[in-house]
């Protein structure tokens, strides 16, 4: 597939987590007329959605039933090229997990419980092309 990313003024943010509370929290925190927010409840749906509407930023959980976040990150990176910013949100705070996330193509790795302000800043920076 071709990886032409439409550079709209509103960055498209894809939130991927199997926990609906986390999705709702992240959505609520990021709610802004400047973002287009989409959500997926597992890795398969995330990949399907990302192929349909190429996201600018993906917030990606690691431990999910089915495809885990590392697999999804690798596939997204392969499908979407280097422009898409992938931020992993994981309950695993081992350095090795972080390394694996970065190897899988993540631009940033946050551990849960995450700090909403840090996430907001990271997304804002990603939207400005600085992450």
């Amino acid at each position: 597939m071709t990886n032409v990313r439409p550079r709209t003024d509103c960055p498209r943010v894809l939130i991927v987590d199997d926990d609906s509370l986390i999705r709702d929290l992240v959505k609520t925190v990021l709610e802004d007329e400047n973002y287009i927010l989409e959500e997926a409840h597992d890795g398969r749906q995330a990949l399907d959605l990302a192929r349909e509407h190429v996201p600018d930023i993906v917030l990606l959980d690691v431990m999910m039933p089915g495809l885990n976040g590392f697999v999804v990150a690798r596939e997204l990176r392969r499908d979407l090229g280097p422009d898409c910013v992938i931020i992993m949100l994981s309950a695993c705070d081992q350095a090795s997990d972080k390394d694996e996330g970065i190897r899988a193509g993540a631009n940033a790795y946050f551990t849960k419980p995450f700090h909403p302000l840090e996430l907001l800043d990271a997304v804002a920076e990603a939207a400005n092309g600085r992450l």
Binding site: L25, T28, V29, L117
Partner: protein
């Protein structure tokens, strides 16, 4: 109403319990409220930051406009022109960037280079515009202009940064300058930088009574005065900068625009 328990209408509470307890749902709603408020606070903060940034920029513009107005007061009295000030400032910033990038962005350098001769408003016009050599007394009066400039700027907080350059721009590396006769690194760096670009522009500028020196001749003159009039390290940076300037660089284009 003892029998009502058996006869009551079936309602939503009779449906199988959801996966999460009601307690947990309240907690979830509470969390979402926190998230909503956080979102709102973050937006307000960002709006404020943008407003502050715009206000700061406007303030800095007014500072510069004020400084330019002050500088225009000296132009009215002295033969050197606005173009000289703009060129000197351009050279000073370029040279400062080579030596220490943070100095190039220091408002002290910018304001100082525009205001370096502000103290000349304290020197009688008869002396400033005099044809022929000055008497010893007249010369002593001219030599007070850096300190008068410092006194003019001292009460204004944002101009205080310019004082080291204003007071020091006629000092010499060998200590033979004025007004204080400071020597070597006792002379503020901004003043050591500006002294070179000021002399350079004076040599290359058009004057009614003489033809200007060529770029190369003026650079040679500066190099010749290294260690006597000027800081050798700054001269070194200056000559490197001049050697690296090609005639079609934006810097030279800007200089041409300023010549008139």
């Amino acid at each position: 109403m003892a029998g009502s328990d058996r006869l009551r209408v079936v309602g939503p509470e009779d449906l199988p319990a959801p996966e999460t307890e009601p307690e947990e749902w309240r907690l979830r709603d509470q969390l979402l409220n926190f998230a909503k408020d956080l979102n709102e606070v973050y937006r307000r903060e960002r709006t404020r930051a943008r407003e502050l940034e715009a206000a700061l920029e406007e303030l800095q513009d007014s500072y510069l406009a004020t400084v330019r107005t002050l500088a225009a007061v000296v132009e009215a009295k002295d033969s050197r022109t606005r173009a000289h000030l703009d060129r000197a400032h351009l050279y000073a910033v370029a040279l400062a960037r080579r030596i220490a990038p943070e100095m190039a962005d220091d408002p002290g350098l910018r304001y100082g280079s525009l205001l370096h001769d502000i103290g000349k408003i304290g020197v009688p016009e008869g002396i400033l515009g005099k044809q022929g050599p000055l008497t010893r007394e007249e010369w002593e009066i001219v030599k007070t202009h850096p300190l008068i400039g410092g006194q003019i700027c001292a009460p204004v907080k944002f101009l205080q940064k310019a004082i080291p350059l204003i007071e020091g721009h006629h000092e010499r590396w060998d200590g033979a300058g004025y007004p204080r006769g400071l020597k070597g690194e006792d002379i503020p760096l901004q003043a050591r930088v500006f002294a070179i670009v000021d002399a350079f522009d004076a040599m290359t500028a058009d004057r009614p009574y003489r033809t200007p020196m060529t770029f190369e001749m003026a650079v040679n003159e500066i190099v010749r005065a290294s260690g006597t009039q000027f800081d050798p390290a700054v001269v070194q940076a200056f000559s490197e900068m001049c050697a690296g300037i090609s005639s079609d660089s934006p810097f030279v284009t800007e200089l041409r625009r300023l010549k008139h």
